[in-house]
């Protein structure tokens, strides 16, 4: 899955290309949290997944607005097939496998945002990208906690 997102970013050559890659990952992440909430997650974990899905939609909206500012129309939105391509098996996954997949997705998104930190030419746009990334880093901590992983944080959060 991480490799697929790396490939997605690897095809980007322009600011708009990087934004579109990031937007796709955020849209897929929203779908992934919704599927996990409708599947193996229950109680407080389900409620948290639904809130995180809403966060991902807000992230996508912010990135979409930046694409509009670059006069790039957003014609396609990620759908179930895109989720199956990035996170195959999520629909049938048990609780732990779902949480692991969501954590891997968040980590890959963070790595992609940091790649944008290196390559974006419109540096002002990095503030929005970094705010999205910071939100993702907090999701990742919550997922590590749910998985019982330690440590919850790293000095240099690379998503990996």
């Amino acid at each position: 899955m991480t490799e697929r997102i790396e490939e997605l970013y690897g095809t980007a050559r322009t600011d708009a290309g990087y934004m579109q890659a990031a937007l796709h990952v955020e849209q897929v992440s929203a779908l992934a949290y919704e599927v996990a909430a409708d599947g193996p997650l229950e109680g407080a974990e389900r409620a948290q997944a639904l809130r995180f899905a809403a966060h991902e939609r807000q992230h996508a909206a912010a990135l979409e607005t930046m694409l509009f500012a670059l006069t790039v129309p957003v014609r396609e939105h990620a759908g179930p097939a895109d989720l199956d391509a990035l996170l195959p098996g999520l629909r049938e996954a048990d609780r732990r496998t779902s949480l692991r997949g969501l954590a891997a997705l968040e980590g890959a998104a963070i790595a992609g945002h940091q790649l944008m930190g290196r390559h974006l030419l419109a540096l002002d746009a990095l503030r929005t990208v970094a705010a999205v990334m910071a939100g993702g880093a907090q999701h990742l901590v919550a997922l590590r906690d749910a998985l019982g992983r330690t440590p919850l944080t790293f000095a240099y959060e690379t998503g990996r």
Binding site: Q58, L126, Q138
Partner: protein
């Protein structure tokens, strides 16, 4: 709901931009932009303040150690030794959360002012690390680890 949040976030971003621009002023516009070392030096000061606030907070030993690593790396990048006095005695979770949040804001705000791509990536890693610290501290306190989609940026009051 989504569009409201989006408007709120974008409005916040706009307000932040306005504050930043007005803070610069005409005199500031005549000054040369800060060097990367100066930007990193400013972040080091902020990191030291946040690190001092976290020291002594129950359950935050690992975070405090990571803050030491942040400061060391920033000091290397800035090529400077900070002499600034730490303002917080440490041990108060609410103060630590506030200082960490200020750190996230400072790291994110600095990004467009850094010319070196390697430093931008470093600062993004540190920003993500500080945002993660906030979530971990909230978990330790029994609070919601992610109350805001944008790690606090949606909650910045418009000025």
């Amino acid at each position: 709901m989504v569009s409201l949040s989006r408007r709120r976030f974008l409005g916040t971003a706009g307000a932040l931009a306005g504050v930043l621009l007005s803070a610069c002023g005409r005199d500031a516009a005549r000054r040369p932009p800060p060097t990367d070392a100066e930007v990193i030096g400013g972040l080091l000061e902020r990191e030291l303040v946040a690190g001092a606030a976290v020291a002594g907070v129950a359950g935050a030993a690992a975070i405090a150690r990571q803050d030491v690593l942040h400061a060391r790396r920033l000091r290397e990048a800035a090529g400077a030794m900070s002499q600034r006095r730490r303002s917080d005695a440490g041990g108060d979770l609410r103060v630590a959360l506030a200082r960490k949040q200020e750190g996230v804001f400072a790291y994110v705000d600095s990004l467009p002012r850094l010319a070196d791509p390697d430093l931008r990536v470093l600062v993004m890693q540190l920003a993500a690390g500080e945002a993660a610290h906030l979530a971990a501290l909230r978990i330790a306190a029994g609070d919601d680890p992610v109350p805001d989609a944008f790690a606090g940026f949606s909650e910045v009051p418009a000025r």
